[in-house]
């Protein structure tokens, strides 16, 4: 590997050995490779984060935070908000200029108020160089005009989970890799009375994941590079028609599904195939009465469509520092600390495959090999495509997703309320309201 990386490994080992003294600015040997941030005297930090989905993930994060406090004396308070509430809270904090110093937010949030965030280009560039590089999809969320306004934290991996025995009973020995084979599998599962199900309702996470996969796997996109709405395309039409075929094989009622419905239906044995985060596996594993389901459960990535590569949305989280913080250096030092190899690895391990690494070095984390179920989730950061692909991120891309434009487009077509052509035309019109300001 590169000199850089060896430097870093040596650096972190040395830093751990020396009790934090030379971690912040007192090591001239590494001064050029690793930026050093000296926390302001009496600095205190507040981080606003989403409520953890996996308790061990939070424990690891807090343990790292405690290590940071022990080393620097900087207290860090970690506040939690339900994941849908982080966006408005963070936006208000940015707007009024008070509240938390840092935020762990979702998707294109940093792009909505870039001028209220501390430029972390130095840190971002250094971390990328030191840890094998950022995944491009994640990096896209954190960068604006070539500058880091946030640090990519993780992708919440989304993958297909299915019942192995039901797939085999339907006559498939291997999970199909492409969309055409996938449709055949779903038809066979339906015929056997063990159907698949993907949410067509207002499921913020799962619904958007599914809709974006449908669109992108067929080569459709919401906007082009310049932000012009190009949803009305033959590729989109093909994806809608594909969704209609797939929908016929689903369990009834998916158009009312919200985020938890697919988990519930899967765990109750009502559907044999859906897509979700790894949490559904742990829910089954935790419960002794679902041991049979947990043993029978397999995971795989969503099939590859005509576009020829694995493309997915996934939930993405970034960390950013508000300009209103009184202690920007302490905040940078905190972030730098959290991304150090041993800390980041401990955190990824704690999240037990729920959070996929932002930097390529951490793909070697043992968690991905510890359970075959985890493997599909390890590819989330690599297959990730930013929301509003291929256009610029910002208020428009965020608004289109929050208004469920794409989810509604597929739902109106599959339920037969509109023809595919009309559904696409309506989506085009709605998207234009956001992009044409």
């Amino acid at each position: 590997m590169t000199i850089n990386r060896r430097h870093l490994l040596g650096a972190s080992a040395g830093l751990v050995a020396a009790a934090g003294l030379n971690r912040f600015g007192l090591t001239p040997a590494f001064a050029q490779a690793a930026p050093s941030y000296k926390p302001e005297a009496g600095a205190k930090l507040r981080l606003l984060r989403w409520v953890p989905f996996v308790p061990a993930e939070e424990a690891a994060w807090l343990a790292n935070t405690k290590k940071f406090t022990d080393a620097t004396g900087v207290e860090v308070r970690v506040d939690k908000e339900s994941w849908e509430d982080v966006r408005p809270k963070a936006a208000v904090a940015a707007n009024v200029g008070s509240g938390p110093d840092m935020v762990m937010s979702w998707f294109d949030d940093p792009q909505q108020y870039p001028d209220k965030l501390v430029d972390v280009t130095e840190l971002g560039t250094y971390l990328g160089g030191a840890h094998g590089g950022w995944y491009p999809g994640l990096e896209g969320y954190a960068k604006r005009d070539g500058k880091f306004i946030a640090l990519p934290l993780c992708a919440i991996g989304n993958a297909i989970v299915y019942r192995d025995s039901h797939m085999k009973a339907a006559g498939f020995q291997e999970f199909p890799k492409d969309t055409a084979g996938f449709l055949e599998l779903c038809k066979a599962l339906h015929a056997k009375g063990t159907p698949a199900g993907f949410p067509h309702g207002k499921a913020v996470g799962d619904g958007n994941n599914y809709a974006h996969w449908l669109l992108w796997s067929h080569g459709g996109k919401m906007v082009d590079e310049s932000g012009k709405v190009v949803i009305n395309s033959p590729e989109t039409l093909a994806s809608v028609k594909y969704a209609q075929e797939l929908y016929k094989t689903f369990i009834p009622g998916t158009e009312s599904w919200q985020d938890v419905n697919n988990n519930r239906a899967f765990l109750a044995g009502q559907v044999s195939l859906t897509a979700n985060g790894v949490s559904v596996y742990y829910a089954a594993k935790k419960d002794a009465s679902m041991a049979a389901i947990a043993d029978d459960m397999r995971s795989t990535n969503l099939p590859i469509g005509p576009v020829g590569q694995s493309v997915e949305l996934h939930q993405t989280s970034t960390l950013s520092i508000f300009k209103h913080t009184k202690y920007p250096e302490a905040a940078k030092a905190y972030l730098q600390f959290m991304y150090q190899s041993e800390n980041m690895n401990a955190w990824i391990e704690g999240a037990s495959a729920y959070c996929c690494q932002p930097l390529k070095e951490y793909a070697a984390n043992p968690v991905w090999k510890s359970n075959p179920i985890h493997e599909a989730y390890s590819k989330a950061s690599a297959s990730l495509r930013p929301n509003g692909y291929a256009g610029p991120l910002g208020a428009a891309s965020a608004g289109v997703m929050a208004d469920y434009v794409l989810v509604d487009m597929y739902a109106t077509a599959v339920t037969g309320q509109m023809t595919p052509e009309d559904a696409i035309a309506q989506a085009e019109k709605r998207a234009n309201r956001y992009y044409n300001v």
Binding site: N95, H200, K202, P252, S256, Y434
Partner: protein, 308 residues
């Protein structure tokens, strides 16, 4: 009366001045109203004329938000949904609530027990009861579907929240369940203010039960009905929690109300200006219902059982 003629006792004169004291006593309430009602309302109306986004101040764009909404099929769908939802739910709540109030007004055994228990749906936090309804309406695990399947009446679960019309009536049913106690208890209070002597006199004159209801109970109750139904309509029209828990506006916006669309676009969507415009668009409907009840239902002629 003139506070300035005698400077040494100016304060004393002031305190004896009714106008001044009246103003002084009103001041806290006025400040309260100004800060917590007028200002937010004014700000909301102003935001509706701007392109404010969360995290960014907007600039004045005139009626652009409203023009955009006028050609937005989703918005018109929510207007239709809201009116439909409010109308059906209010009629049902009124009918069932009045019926319940009349029953509770009779001399039943355990009268106070029933009167207390009737309030339960209203006392339970909306989010909790909405979650309960969510399970009742679940696409796979609905207790209603399950029971009907076990009884052999249907084969497949009812698609409560997936089919647009089913979903509309399902959320209305949940709203009615929640809203009845308010109507019933308020009307019951109204019923108890009707003097028994009127009923007795009518009975002596040979009036039937139906006639007594039509010519005594109903007219005497009209002022209460006007107030209760105004409130009921306002609550229903601005309902949010129930929809947000049950469907988030789905399937395909069939149960999206103006309030939920306003939130969806304003807060998670970040389009504060447009969200505010949708909320402001609710005001004419709300005003109309208030005016209807105050100038219509409270007419003296109606209250005295007469016709126009």
């Amino acid at each position: 009366m003139t506070a300035t003629t005698n400077p040494p006792s100016a304060l004393g004169a002031l305190t004896r001045n009714n106008t001044f004291m009246g103003f002084l006593f009103l001041l806290p309430a006025a400040v309260f109203l100004l800060c917590f009602l007028t200002y937010p309302l004014g700000l909301g109306v102003w935001l509706g004329f701007t392109d404010a986004k969360i995290g960014r101040d907007g600039v004045f764009i005139g009626l652009d938000n409203y023009k955009a909404l006028a050609s937005d099929s989703v918005f018109w769908m929510t207007v239709y949904n809201t009116v439909f939802y409010t109308f059906i739910a209010s009629v049902l709540k009124f009918g069932l609530g009045l019926w319940l109030a009349l029953i509770l007004n009779e001399n039943l055994p355990f009268k106070s027990f029933f009167r207390a228990i009737i309030l339960l749906p209203w006392v339970v936090p909306t989010v909790l009861s909405a979650l309960a309804f969510w399970w009742i309406y679940d696409a796979q695990f609905s207790i209603l579907s399950w029971s009907l399947i076990k009884l052999g009446i249907i084969d497949t679960p009812i698609n409560f929240l997936g089919d647009p019309n089913n979903a509309r009536f399902s959320v209305i049913a949940a709203n009615v369940w929640r809203g009845i106690p308010f109507v019933a208890i308020s009307l019951l209070a109204g019923l108890q203010t009707i003097p028994q002597s009127l009923h007795e006199a009518a009975s002596l004159d040979g009036a039937t039960g139906l006639q007594r209801f039509r010519f005594i109970t109903l007219p005497m109750l009209t002022p209460i009905i006007a107030v209760v139904m105004t409130f009921s309509v306002l609550f229903t029209f601005t309902d949010f929690q129930l929809i947000y828990v049950l469907t988030k506006g789905g399937p395909v916006n069939a149960t999206h109300l103006m309030a939920t669309l306003s939130f969806q676009r304003g807060i998670p969507g970040g389009q504060l200006g447009e969200g505010a415009a949708i909320a402001v668009a609710m005001i004419p409907f709300l005003l109309a219902s208030i005016l209807f009840s105050f100038f219509g239902l409270q007419r003296r002629k109606w209250q005295q059982g007469g016709q126009d």
